[in-house]
């Protein structure tokens, strides 16, 4: 039962990440792309945690924590750039 749930989880999150990628490529505005990147990052955290359960190894947790921290900083930095470094401003 657990193995089935893990495999199904991989499929569902994989689909979710494909949808994020589609939005990332399609845009239309740059804020949509940043939002897509942020969501892609959050889904990657879920994927990594799930992989950790599959491999029965807690080493992947560190990666998930790093992704959470770096992804947040990246999103904030990109938004700040749009708000402050805009040519029109």
């Amino acid at each position: 039962m657990l193995n089935f749930a893990i495999e199904a989880g991989f499929v569902l999150i994989g689909l979710a990440m494909l949808l994020n990628l589609w939005r990332l490529l399609k845009g239309p505005d740059i804020t949509d792309r940043i939002l897509a990147l942020d969501t892609l990052n959050i889904n990657a955290i879920a994927l990594l945690v799930l992989y950790g359960i599959r491999e029965a190894s807690s080493a992947y947790f560190e990666g998930a924590l790093l992704l959470a921290a770096m992804g947040f900083v990246a999103t904030v930095a990109l938004c700040k750039y749009l708000l402050r470094g805009d040519i029109i401003e």
């Binding site: 804020t31 879920a46 924590l65």
Partner: protein, 108 residues
């Protein structure tokens, strides 16, 4: 592993993956930026939350001692998600205002 715990872990994994997918569906198919913002800030955060909870239950059940460090990821995501959403919304409003200004008279 205890079958009840296995069931709980499996259910949490499926719930988490399903919500992650639903949040991403919202991101992909909703019509404009501000409605798209809702999917990731809620569904995806809960999705990761459930996934992380599954991991905490699994490692607590299979190892000696408790496994709580996953909870830190969840706390971190729940604190940062509103901040990201807030900044993205501000950036979008800023760009919209800048664009509208350009359309009217060519400057801000």
């Amino acid at each position: 592993m205890n079958p009840y715990i296995e069931f709980v872990v499996a259910a949490l994994i499926l719930l988490g993956a399903l919500f992650a997918l639903l949040g991403s569906i919202g991101l992909a198919r909703l019509p404009d930026f501000f409605t798209r913002l809702h999917g990731p800030t809620k569904a995806t955060t809960l999705g990761v939350g459930a996934m992380v909870l599954a991991s905490a239950v699994y490692f607590t059940a299979t190892r000696d001692g408790v496994s709580l460090h996953e909870i830190a990821v969840m706390v971190f995501l729940f604190i940062t998600a509103p901040v990201s959403a807030h900044l993205l919304a501000k950036a979008a409003l800023h760009r919209q205002a800048a664009k509208d200004g350009m359309d009217v008279d060519g400057t801000e």
